[in-house]
Amino acid sequence: MNRRSFLKTTAATAIVAGAGSLPAFAADEPLKIGFIYVGPVGDMGWSYQHDQGRQAIEAAYGDKVQTSFIENVPEGPDAERALTQLALEGNKLIFATSFGFMDAVMNVAKKFPDVKFEHATGYKLSDNVAIYDAKFFQGRAIQGTIGGRMTKTNKIGYIASFPIPEVYQGINAAYLAAKKVNPDVEMKVVWAYTWFDPAKEADAAAALIADGVDVLLQHTDSTAPQAKAQEAGNVITFGQASDMSSFAPMPRVSSTIDNWAPYYVKRAGAMMDGAWASQATWGGIDTGMVEIGEISDAVPAEVKAEALQLKEDIASGKVHPFTGPLKKQDGSAFLADGEMATDELLHSMTFYVEGITAEPPK
């Protein structure tokens, strides 16, 4: 634990202490639902979007629910403490909204068998732990299409967070889509090893832009890369997790929006009806969990039309961003001709596809 996370937890604990209320004794006490976020609600990206989902629960059920959240929870042992705290406060349904909370969720879930947990983007299930995730890579394919068409330098930059399947899916999907419309395209990847660190994200963006990138994709949560691209002037970006529309029409030309609200409302409802069950959900464009933000006027009309067509085809299942023949970066076979990647295959994707020249981190 570093100094910064220590402070964050101290602050986080203080927020919880403030938000906690006296236990209610009435029979019809509201269902208490807790959330932990990896960044601040004000990141205008990932955590902001989850908090929109939390507010949707309150809007849908009013007095019947009572929600609270802890923001800036570092991934690791601190998460366990935050989750325990929420469980002890009487929350019956707890959402943990970052990949790195996975083991903490499993540990705490074991100690509180009566509390139901929902873990975002993870892969471990148990009787009282459900997982949910969105097919962000579908949005990446659309971004890759727009990027591949619009790049003048033929260099697309990707600010990656951690080397996990979700991020590899994004890089590969964007690259494959871009290469389809522009065979000369080259993918530049920078690993920032953070979900949220504006200074580092800004530096990563600056490094990629200095390297000649004019299409910038980010898998990190802050708007700092958008600000850097705006400064550079001729670089286009895409809103990540949230619409980031304050940067439209340039540099932000479109976005992938994570819409958790319907899922959160549904799960809270199931909890109240006693119908909650552990399950794995992986929603995409078709279920509305992944939304494509408005494509701005900076994108030529025919490119916009192409992107929207792709969106429809992905939603209808006609097109899958990972369709064979595909090889891995090292030349070994990945998908046969016409074969579409299964969810299981994608869940274990920790490699680049053929054509990406960057070295994966070790």
Partner: protein, 310 residues
């Protein structure tokens, strides 16, 4: 100019911007330490400068006022430190650490309403045709005014410390406060001034981070820059020009490793990020080996409390 897939020119230009916060903070800390006070609160002063500068720039729409406010906030933090260590004679190391923790917490509190807000842009200086000169134009004439100010400050600090009466007094206080006191110099007043100057520069560095380099406010955004600044002062063995060298070497290390990645190298990120501290330790060892029998590189009274009665 491309070496090994890396554009040296743009790397240098990026480096200069990226290093400016630590350069400013390290220059300030150098002055404070030259007066004989070890202020470990650089990180806390920087982050207060970052939040205060950001708030002021957003409120007024003027980045210059933002930087001014950042400097004031840093100086106020330093004055608090000076009061505690010089008047109340508290332990400098403990007080400095407390100042860092205090600054991180207070800035998070103040900054709550500023997350996701965009600051007014800081203009780059227009050098006209000068910036079109190949290589040099991009490196020397493509920055905002704070980068030049930071370089000027290094030169000024070097000149004042070396060639002026004020610099001589400052160094005398840092080398032997008892002797300086016996000669009639007001040791505590000199140290107050040196600390406030150091704090102001740290605040400026913080404001540069939130107003130019990111530009955005987030909790804990200095992310250890203050500690690197402290390491640089030691690495530089308390000499201004070496501070500049150290800042460009270490301050830019994040920018450098990201740029190496962009160029397609697989970089052991964690090794690079501990490099400044490892090198500082090595330099310390070398310095103490060289100076075993002679003059120490550090100011002789560094970290010692002074009271006129003792």
């Amino acid at each position: 100019m491309i070496v090994g897939g890396i554009d040296i020119v743009s790397l240098t230009a990026t480096l200069m911007g990226a290093s400016t916060p630590v350069l400013l903070a390290a220059t300030g800390e150098l002055v404070a330490e030259k007066s004989g006070v070890l202020n470990l609160g650089v990180e806390g002063m920087m982050i207060m400068g970052a939040v205060a500068g950001f708030a002021a720039a957003v409120a007024t729409g003027n980045p210059v006022l933002g930087f001014a406010m950042g400097a004031v906030a840093g100086a106020l933090m330093a004055t608090l430190f000076a009061f505690l260590t010089q008047k109340l004679l508290s332990n400098q190391v403990a007080t400095g650490l407390a100042l860092t923790l205090f600054g991180l917490g207070l800035s998070a509190l103040i900054g709550k309403g500023y997350e996701g807000v965009r600051p007014p842009p800081t203009a780059k200086i227009d050098f006209g045709p000068l910036s079109d000169i190949p290589v040099l134009g991009r490196i020397l004439f493509s920055h905002d005014w704070m980068v030049y100010l930071s370089l000027i400050l290094v030169a000024v600090v070097w000149y004042v410390l070396r060639s002026t009466r004020a610099g001589l007094i400052l160094r005398a206080v840092g080398e032997s406060h008892d002797a300086a006191h016996a000669l009639g110099y007001r040791v505590v007043a000199v140290r107050f001034a040196a600390l406030a100057f150091g704090g102001a520069l740290a605040g400026l560095g913080g404001a540069y981070l939130s107003l130019v380099r990111v530009p955005q406010w987030t909790e804990g955004m200095t992310a250890g820059a203050g500690w690197i600044a402290l390491a640089i002062v030691v690495f530089a063995s308390w000499r201004p020009w070496r501070v500049l060298l150290g800042a460009y070497l270490f301050g830019g290390i994040t920018a450098l490793q990201l740029q190496l990645q962009a160029a397609g190298y697989a970089i052991p990120v964690h090794i690079l990020s501990m490099a400044p501290y490892v090198i500082t330790i090595v330099v310390l060892v070398i310095l103490s080996a060289i100076h075993r029998h002679g003059v120490q590189a550090a100011p002789a009274s560094l970290g010692k409390s002074f009271h006129a009665s003792s």
